[in-house]
Amino acid sequence: MSPEAPAPDTAESIGRLVQGRERTAVEIARTYLERADRSAARLGTYLHRDAARTLAEAADVDARIANGETVGPLAGVPVALKDNLCTRGVPTTCGSKILEGYRPPYDAHVVERLRRAGAVVTGKTNCDEFAMGSSTENSAYLPTKNPWDLTRVPGGSSGGSAATVAALEAAVSLGSDTGGSVRQPAAFCGVYGLKPTYGAVSRYGLVAFASSLDQIGPIGRTARDTALLYNAICGRDERDMTSRAEAKPVALDDLERGVKGMKLGIPRDLIAEGVDPEVLASLERVAKTLAAEGAEILDVTLPHARYSIATYYLIAPAEASSNLARYDGVRYGFRAKSEDLQSMYAATRGQGFGREVRRRILLGTYALSAGYYDAYYLRAMKVRTLIRKDFADALGRADAVLLPTTPTPPFRLGEKVDDPLAMYLNDVFSIPASLAGAPALSFPAGMTRANLPIGMQLVGRPFEEGTLLRIARTWERTESALRVPPIAAEGNA
């Protein structure tokens, strides 16, 4: 075990203290900025930090409170934002060269909501370029390292957002999840990561990767913090026609009500092969604990889930090939010098995008081409419908599906970077819920013998995020104190 640090402040407690004027937002911001100053450079968690701006935001929250304004439950809470969330006047690069120096003229919907709730932005976190990757090694700027073991990846694509919360550089953070990009790094970094139901959170201001799959999701160190952040961002937004009014905040008190009488389904057919024994052992431990808390554990099947990766790697690149067409060097971002229009396009996109992004644009372009559309994209959409039906059936019998977030604990930096297929396979358990549009939560479920985090995943019915958080909270209560990685403990020792 690592040396125990003093219990870290949760977002919930920070909000309560700042609202109650027991602590100022500026004091809180200073604490977190100092921690980030110690570790952020070594971890590679941020692409952009601006301490002066963070302190100014905190001072503004204090001023609002001093004026008697009601500030939300996130008052003074330091929150990190993945660099694919637009922030007005603040660089937003999506980890890509092609958007180097780009500053959006507007705030994403979630950023507006966080500001209203009193949150203070610590900075923009590193990610795989355009959220394409599972290790944050595809960032055009720098890799992020796992706070538990600096030789390992933090997961991705929201690696910076997960690592910065794990390392106590921010209380909570937002990532985006297309095929597991919030859940997988949360699992690798030992924190909670929620992918809300598709449509639960407005995507306005989230730079699109695959529009029919992308969801912004909260990352926190506790189930309650994760709920708190979800509550601040969920609900209908007129600027996103796919956002839904059914998405309602989660009542925090409900998270304490236990799992008595709940049914949890384990898709044993899907996790039969290629899963690390320590991960499997963790799954059994969680199942046993929750059974002891009164849940009924049963088997469910997801017969089409084994086609998830193939399906996903047709749909997501197809949409990405179209979504990324706008980066053409004409209006903003990087432009390569060229003789004429066609070669300017080719050079800008050839030099501005990294290998993985180019690979997926090519895949997607091919899948949508005349003559191939029916065989690839259309067929993938049909399989997607079957996978959605699998979940509907399973969740007709169970209140949630329980399975590992990833087949293995965090892998080493560089280990899979030249083997895209091995990298893709890492998302085998997270992609099915993405295709189904179902809410899915990764929660910390213990450590390996090598002291690496293991994440378990819960998948639920549409707009039942609360159920998932309640189950995870029940498990959390049976666990010992929150774990802090060595790098964060150093400064506090």
């Binding site: 637009c86 201001g205 026609m241």
Partner: protein, 481 residues
């Protein structure tokens, strides 16, 4: 030489007259300074999403209902992917395999024959921006982009290949424009680009069943140019076939100055648009009840007004055609006819006098200075024989520049007809006294000279004398004296 048949299908893009763009709230007003009517959404900045303008949907549904299309209860938006500097997102949001409207048709009238041109579909899409290639600066190859138009709502109306000549194409376009303008969903202005047309042209031997290879002709900026371009292209294709060649499927750009069409560079047309359903917009679901409401609220259409005018006001079909050219002209006519109490006479006055002046001055009916209340009063005076048609025209001329009504002008100008018998008899006596020679001839039985005397009397009255009563008076005075 073999006889050939020309086969044409038209694709018309009509800009919908909404105040704001189709996916954002930017203004659609034409002519603003470049790139001033833009926002993150229509600029296609990273992270933005489209929000559908419901008014654009309503206008498209109105159009579909007006031409008898079936309205899909579920239609789907799709992305059409291609790179161009004036296309900010790198794709155009359009509709592909599930359009809003299918079927329907437009009735055309060419060389006295009515014929229905079927429609394949009508779908909604967004416009791209405008590329401007500044001319006249040697060596400058800069292209400027104006995105004010990017995201303006359009409907694309695709006809069946049932048009058989340039003249039919012209009439089709005129009637389609007329319908759009009656619906008030498009301003029909080709110069400002609010109505655009591409033509798919092929030829085949008369009587042949299969279609020939088609070419697509673009860049026609007026209905007349569409007509000319089709005639040109059909001739060109016939020429190729007659000399034993084969028509190549390609896109041609019409050059109005030269009266010719030349192929586009093949690079520009080698597009695979990679259509797929737009994931940022849900399928467009329309309630049948809502569609019915739109149907019930449709304004009167050109053919309905034509039928009503021929039926209720007794004017010939030809007149009704002319008078329903625009909704405003039809209303002008109806009010004039109502005031005049004579449909045919009102029609004659508008078709000859009013339209004569308008054509000369290039005025719309709204700009025409004599409003229907005044014109109706004038036609009524003529209809009731209170003034002659000739006097009526003099009054009409005066009314063009003066505000008074016809009654006041007739009085003030002393133009009232002379039909009082004693006044006419006095006039007759004057004429008899002044023309002893002709009078003697008439008395000797030379009837033709009587007409001369009538003319003299009419001249003296400055045209005001009532013609029949004047003749009576002259005869009586000739017998009396």
């Amino acid at each position: 030489m073999t006889a050939y048949e020309t086969v044409v299908g038209l694709e018309v893009h009509a800009q919908l007259k909404t105040r704001s763009k189709i996916f954002c709230s930017c203004s659609t007003v034409f002519g603003a300074r470049p790139n001033t009517q833009v926002c993150p959404v229509c600029l296609g900045l990273p992270g933005v999403l489209p929000v559908l303008n419901e008014r654009a949907v309503r206008f498209a549904v109105m159009t579909g209902l007006a031409v008898g299309s079936g309205i899909a209860e579920r239609s789907v938006f799709a992305r059409k992917n291609y790179f161009y500097p004036d296309l900010p997102k790198g794709y155009q949001i359009s509709q592909y395999d599930r359009p809003l409207c299918s079927g329907g048709g437009v009735d055309i009238h060419v060389e006295g024959v009515w014929k229905r041109i079927g429609l394949v579909r009508i779908h909604i899409e967004e416009d791209a921006g405008k590329s401007i290639h500044p001319e006249g600066r040697a060596g400058v190859t800069t292209t400027l982009v104006d995105l004010n138009r990017a995201g303006v709502p359009l409907i694309e109306i695709v006809s069946e290949p049932e048009i058989r000549s340039g003249a039919e194409a012209y009439d089709y376009l005129m009637r389609l424009k007329q319908i759009l303008m009656y619906l008030d969903v498009c301003d029909g202005n080709m110069e400002e680009g609010s109505l655009r047309c591409d033509a798919n042209v092929s030829v085949r031997k008369a009587g042949a069943k299969e279609l020939g290879t088609k070419t697509e002709v673009k860049n026609m900026n007026s209905f007349r140019n569409v007509e000319r371009a089709i005639a040109y292209e059909a001739e060109r294709q016939i020429g190729i076939l007659e000399s034993g060649g084969r028509v190549v499927q390609e896109t041609l750009l019409w050059n109005a100055d030269q009266g010719t069409a030349a192929p586009m560079r093949s690079k520009e047309e080698a597009h695979d648009y990679r259509y797929f359903p737009e994931p940022d917009l849900l399928p467009l679901d329309l309630e049948p009840r809502w569609i019915d409401t739109v149907r019930k609220e449709l304004p009167e259409l050109p053919h309905q007004v034509r039928e009503r005018l021929t039926r209720d006001l007794g004017i010939p079909e030809y007149d009704a055609e002319v008078l329903t050219e625009t909704r405003a002209l039809a209303s002008y006519y109806e009010e004039t006819a109502g005031r005049a109490g004579n449909g045919k006479l009102a029609s004659n006055w508008i078709m000859t006098e009013v339209n004569g002046i308008r054509n000369k001055k290039g005025q719309t009916i709204e700009e025409f200075p004599i409003r229907p209340d005044r014109l109706g009063a004038l036609v009524k005076m003529v209809a009731e024989d209170r003034i002659s048609g000739k006097i009526g025209k003099q009054v009409f001329e005066m009314m063009l520049t003066r505000p008074e009504g016809p009654e006041e002008l007739v009085k003030a100008q002393g133009l009232l007809p002379i039909d009082d018998e004693s006044a006419l008899r006095a006039l007759a006596r004057e004429v008899i006294a002044a023309n002893p020679g002709p009078v003697a001839e008439v008395r000797a039985g030379k009837e033709r000279t009587f007409a001369f005397l009538v003319g003299q009397a009419m001249k003296q009255s400055r045209g005001r004398a009532h013609p029949e009563k004047l003749q009576d008076a002259l005869r009586k005075e000739l017998q009396a004296s």
